[in-house]
Symmetry: C2
């Protein structure tokens, strides 16, 4: 008998549930499958959680946090804005290809949350977090390339997340990597076209970047 504090057992059960959902989908993540994966008894499940839905809520919160950490934007390295955006999309795509079942699970969990009374707010929070991440990416890219966005950033962020989700679904269905990569490149080009150079307000003592350099590099 190895004793674990309840909090530790909860963590292990949630980690196990992440793996089970990824492998079998939400419907396959029964309490028995989860405890089997965690190497525990069924009673331990109910000792640690009052219900399966409580575990699912915590599962959603956990996987969203992990996703945000994994996809935190890196310092922009592209020579052009388009390059930077494309690199961001391709970084996500590498992440998707490395573990397709994970992204499929994210999408399934969204639908599950929307369908489960009491969990709707988690789906909302999930998508707010994605929008924040997209906003951060857009701001970072704009700053690195000396541009500003010609559309309201919430719209651009929504569109960026939509493109990501939509191309993900298409890829999960057809596994056409070339087409997905091309679509991500097209997505990057689309968004890049809503940028314009930031005009310098006044001449400064610093050597300023010429306004036409954006055109020259694209």
């Amino acid at each position: 008998m190895t004793r674990l504090p309840a909090a530790e057992r909860r963590t292990r059960l949630v980690d196990a549930a992440v793996r089970v959902v990824a492998e079998r989908g939400v419907a396959g993540a029964t309490t028995r499958a989860i405890v089997a994966e965690a190497g525990m008894s069924l009673a331990s499940f109910h000792y640690a959680f009052t219900s399966r839905d409580e575990l699912m809520a915590e599962l959603i919160t956990t996987v969203v946090a992990h996703e945000l950490t994994a996809l935190r934007p890196e310092l922009p390295t592209g020579r052009t804005l388009h390059d930077t955006l494309r690199e961001g999309f391709m970084r996500y795509f590498d992440h998707l290809v490395a573990a397709p079942e994970r992204e499929a699970a994210m999408l399934e969990l969204t639908h599950y949350a929307l369908r489960t009374p009491g969990l709707e707010a988690l789906a909302e929070r999930q998508y707010e977090s994605y929008a924040e991440l997209a906003t951060l990416s857009l701001a970072s890219a704009a700053a690195a390339h000396g541009v500003r966005w010609t559309r309201p950033v919430p719209e651009l962020a929504t569109t960026l997340v939509a493109l990501t989700d939509g191309i993900t679904i298409a890829w999960l269905v057809n596994r056409d990597g070339e087409l997905a990569a091309a679509a991500f490149d097209l997505a990057a080009a689309s968004i890049a076209r809503f940028a314009e150079p930031v005009a310098e307000p006044v001449p400064s003592a610093h050597s300023s970047r010429p306004a036409h350099s954006l055109e020259a590099t694209s």
Copy 2:
């Protein structure tokens, strides 16, 4: 005892299943829920279908066909390409807002098909059909506005479907109609920017549309 031929009973069961999935999701579409909705006995279910999966396969085929019919592109009426594309997106958005649970069900069925051995090909066929519809829309819009696409059409079609799916999910989660409409407008603008006027091969006796008229109208 009202006698029905098996084919009629199958149709009624599928129609009932469409309603049940829309209301309760795939997990809630049990054989008992479906027959209750159809006003039949459970034995009639198994008389008409050899298994629940057989009914689900037919359900997917049916709802995809209905979706394609509902979203068949209309004659382009926009004054500019951007307008035409935006109108197409907004027509879809009206369709979504009129029955959100229907589009949510479509997405859920995709995931269900991907998760169910033997049904994967239905998900693929679903997305091929969407791409064909998008391709038709793009061709129709290009012809109406005298432009051609500067990106391969499969890429543009994939992106158009991705934008549709992605904005749908975002709206299902947050029900922010203004943001969704703005995102659809931005999506239309994005795609419109991958068009260029079709050059006339040779001067003709017909009055030709001036090449700069596209810029003037946008």
